[in-house]
Structure formats: structure tokens, C-alpha cells
């Protein structure tokens, strides 16, 4: 999974492709539908448009009934099942196990910023290639910083509502 991700890393080609798609609404819709199909079957993707998978052990946090993006709630059962769906494994238990196997537990300590609900249904790949997802999470666990930037107060990244 982590290796496959390299194919998606933003570069000049896919950035241009993303811009092209956004100029052609019908192509954008087809592309988004294909993304939904692929990520839906692989990860249960809900199309929040702001993909956190690379930092969550490829377990989709939006499939959590509380859509928690920063780790598990306190209601996980002793056997690791969800408090809402007792027959299902907690998304974050799956995330932790996978991250641990891959030596990526530190990813889970990064702080995930609040999402923009206007992005639901949009292509997260296009957003990613366009650099809009650069600030979805912090660069480190923040414990050594005095100020952890939650929101760009100069409001230039287009996320904060003005």
C-alpha cells in the first residue's frame, strides 16, 4: 500500500492532469466516480475529499461511526471491536496493527486538522495533486513545539471560511 502510494505522489504531470480535469466537469465526474469505485472497494472510502489514508495505516477514519481522525475513542471493547458495531473491528485497531507492521506508528501521532465539509464528494486525488491537502495533518507529533499551527490565521490556504 505504502509503495503504491508513490505512484500518486504529486508531480508536474499529475498536477497538470488535475488542472485539466477541473476544467472539464464531465471528465472530472468520470474520474471521481472511478476513484470512488477503487477506494470504495479497497478501503470503504466515503469520499470526504481529504484523504488521510497515508497517515492512518490505510484504515479509513471516515468509516468510524464517529469519523474520528485522531485515533480511537474510549469505547473500544476489550477484544478490539467497535462500540457501535460490536461485530466489527475498530477502524483504529486495524490502523494501529497495520501501522505497527509497517513500522509507521509515528504517523498515527500526527495531529489531523478539522476537515472542510464542502469537499465531500470531490476527488481527493485531484485535491492532493493540486497541493490542497498539504496541511491536513501536522509535520510531527507537536510535543516539542510551543505553538502548533491549527489554522492558517492569514487565511491563505482557502480552508478557513472568511
Amino acid at each position: 500500500m505504502y509503495r503504491l502510494h508513490h505512484l500518486l505522489t504529486p508531480n508536474l504531470a499529475n498536477r497538470r492532469f488535475a488542472r485539466f480535469l477541473e476544467r472539464h466537469p464531465r471528465l472530472y465526474r468520470w474520474f471521481t466516480a472511478a476513484e470512488k469505485q477503487a477506494k470504495g472497494s479497497a478501503f470503504g472510502c466515503r469520499m470526504c475529499g481529504q484523504c488521510a489514508l497515508p497517515a492512518t495505516g490505510y484504515a479509513c477514519p471516515m468509516t468510524c461511526p464517529k469519523q474520528l481522525r485522531n485515533g480511537p475513542c474510549g469505547g473500544v471493547s476489550a477484544t478490539g471491536t467497535c462500540e457501535v458495531y460490536p461485530d466489527q473491528q475498530c477502524v483504529w485497531v486495524a490502523a494501529y496493527e497495520r501501522a505497527e507492521q509497517e513500522g509507521r506508528v509515528q504517523d498515527l501521532t500526527l495531529l489531523q486538522r478539522p476537515i472542510d465539509h464542502r469537499e465531500w464528494g470531490k476527488s481527493s486525488w485531484v485535491n492532493y495533486w493540486q497541493g490542497r491537502d498539504d496541511d491536513l495533518w501536522t509535520p510531527d507529533d507537536g510535543l516539542t513545539r510551543t505553538h502548533l499551527v491549527l489554522t492558517d490565521l492569514s487565511s491563505s490556504n482557502g480552508r478557513p471560511n472568511t
Binding site: N70, P72, A78, V93, T109, D141, G142, T151
Partner: protein, 327 residues
């Protein structure tokens, strides 16, 4: 301290903040608001707890059951002389309403807020309700710190004057993935949590291991760890906690101990166990206090604390020298 609801001056340092800052063993408890429009219910519970706790949590529609609001309960608790910890869950409100409640809490003088995701609506009396969860607990704590320390909303708009309260959070050291729980507390500390209350400690072994991991990360130096405790009142109550309340884990030896005594002895045995747990927690390095949860049995809290050797707050306030436990 004059903390009537009409007092609009920002809260000065509260009792809980002082305890955590000075290293005096902190005691918090819980007041669950009533379902009815009954101010007296809060006053009655506050009356029992007043001399014994630094602060009491006012729960926010606990268990997803509709009850009197935590902000109103907090004001009522202050009227009765109990410092509130206003709980705020992300279950029922989006970021607009959450930030609004945080500003309001400071304006009426509520000195402590505690933020958590909250039980899912499916557990409550309105299982058909829309679960909101616009923010998660880490994001809400982060937003609170932004509001207080930088005087800004998530939108970037200024908040003047900025709110002032102590920022609290929760953690469950007993829920999988166990090895991630200290790091998860670390995320809350990085976001701005200054004290953390834990789920019921029935399993001291797991708790001690978690506490050691917390200390490895240096978190207990930056954030007061207040361990959750509470008495088991009956076998039925124990079974309810195990099966109906998410996240509470009771180890086999405790279950055996409670089942091993006659039915009329269970409450006394539960009290004894809770006293022993508090005593053990006081000896555990890094534990800054205890959070006593005795929902519906608030009257036993003073006895529990007294038997555990924790003097009433009035005794410590007049400096009897009884309260000598430093962290």
C-alpha cells in the same frame, strides 16, 4: 470566591488549577444533571460534594440521554459553591456551536472545560438522532487552545476578550489498541490539554503500565493525570458497567471478589476495593489526583475519600497540615 452567574469577570485560578499547579493531590467528582427542569437536583449533589472535591464534572447529556445542559448545570453548581468542570462532547454540536459554548462558559465564569467525543447516539434515548462529530476531541481541544491563547476562532476571526478556562480531556488506558493509548494522550497534550481524567481504574496492572508509558513521553509533567475511580454497588451494577457502558473493563479477579461475597455485602466490598484503589493510585508516580465517579451514589464520596486518607478540602484550606502529599 464570588462566582455568581451574573459575574462576568473572567474566572481567576480555580481550585483544581491550584491543586494541579502546586502538586496537592487533586480530587474531582461527577454530577450528572437531571432530566427534569430541576435546579435542586444539582444543588443537592453539590451540597454533598462541596467540602470534599476541588471540582465536579457536569456531564454533557451523559450516555447520549437528554438531560439538563452542562453549561446550566455548571452555573447551578457554582451557585452551590462547587467549582464545575463543564463537559463538552462533539456528538451533538458542530464547530460553530462548540466554540460558542466555550466562549459562553468563560463569560459566566466557568473555570474548567473538558472535551471529549462522547458516547454515540445509538446508546441513548434518541438512537435515531443525527450524530454530529464535526470535530473530534483532539481537534476541539486544539480549537479551545487557539481561542484562549491566540484569541482566535477556527475561522481566524478574533475573540476579544479571549476565553479563560483550564483545558481538560479524557483517556481510556484500558481500551485497545493499548500500546497506542499513551501516544493518544500525547496528541491531546500537544493540542492543549492541561489535565486528563481516565476511565475507571479496576485493573491497576494495565494502568501502571500505561502510566509508565505516559512518563516515558514526559506527559505527566505537562498535564495532570487524574485517575478515574468509583465503587461497585452491586453485582447487577457491575454487570451493567461491563455490558452497557462502552469502554469499562473489569478484570476477572475483581469480578470474582464481588461475586465471592453475600449479596448484602457487595456494596461494602465495592467500597473497600475503591478505597484500596485510591490508596494505590496515591502511591503511583505521576498520578496527580483521583476522579470519583459514583453516579447516583454521590453520598458515599465523602466516606470513600476519608477512608482513603484524603482529607476534606476545608481541612486542607485551613492548613491543618493533614494534607501533606506532594506529587
Amino acid at each position: 470566591m464570588d462566582m455568581t452567574p451574573s459575574d462576568t469577570t473572567p474566572a481567576s485560578e480555580g481550585r483544581l488549577h491550584t491543586a494541579l499547579r502546586t502538586g496537592r493531590f487533586a480530587v474531582t467528582a461527577e454530577i450528572g444533571p437531571p432530566r427534569g427542569a430541576d435546579a435542586g437536583a444539582i444543588a443537592d449533589k453539590a451540597e454533598i460534594l462541596r467540602d470534599w472535591v476541588d471540582a465536579a464534572n457536569i456531564t454533557d447529556n451523559q450516555g447520549s440521554h437528554t438531560r439538563l445542559a452542562s453549561w446550566a448545570g455548571s452555573i447551578l453548581a457554582m451557585r452551590s459553591g462547587v467549582e464545575p468542570v463543564m463537559q463538552l462532547t462533539t456528538r451533538d454540536r458542530n464547530r460553530i456551536a462548540l466554540q460558542s459554548d466555550l466562549i459562553s462558559a468563560s463569560a459566566v465564569g466557568i473555570p474548567n472545560v473538558l472535551m471529549l467525543s462522547g458516547d454515540h447516539p445509538s446508546f441513548g434515548d434518541h438512537p435515531e438522532a443525527m450524530p454530529v462529530f464535526d470535530l473530534d476531541s483532539v481537534q476541539l481541544i486544539w480549537a479551545a487552545k487557539l481561542m484562549r491563547d491566540q484569541g482566535r476562532l477556527l475561522s481566524g476571526k478574533p475573540v476579544k476578550p479571549a476565553p479563560r478556562w483550564l483545558i481538560g480531556a479524557v483517556e481510556n488506558p484500558f481500551a485497545p489498541p493499548l500500546r497506542f493509548r499513551a501516544q493518544r494522550m500525547g496528541k491531546k497534550v500537544a493540542a492543549g490539554a492541561e489535565f486528563i481524567q481516565t476511565q475507571f481504574v479496576f485493573d491497576l496492572e494495565i494502568f501502571t503500565r500505561w502510566m509508565a508509558e505516559v512518563a516515558d513521553l514526559g506527559l505527566e509533567q505537562r498535564c495532570g493525570v487524574i485517575a478515574g475511580v468509583g465503587p461497585i454497588r452491586s453485582v447487577r451494577a457491575m454487570e451493567f458497567m461491563q455490558s452497557k457502558v462502552p469502554g469499562i473493563q473489569i478484570p476477572d479477579q475483581v469480578v470474582r471478589r464481588m461475586r465471592g461475597v453475600a449479596a448484602e455485602q457487595v456494596a461494602a466490598e465495592g467500597m473497600g476495593l475503591c478505597v484500596e484503589t485510591i490508596q494505590a493510585l496515591r502511591q503511583t508516580t505521576g498520578v496527580a489526583g483521583v476522579h470519583v465517579m459514583a453516579f447516583g451514589h454521590e453520598r458515599v464520596v465523602p466516606e470513600l475519600l476519608e477512608r482513603a486518607g484524603i482529607p476534606s478540602r476545608t481541612a486542607s484550606a485551613i492548613g491543618t497540615g493533614v494534607d501533606d502529599d506532594a506529587r
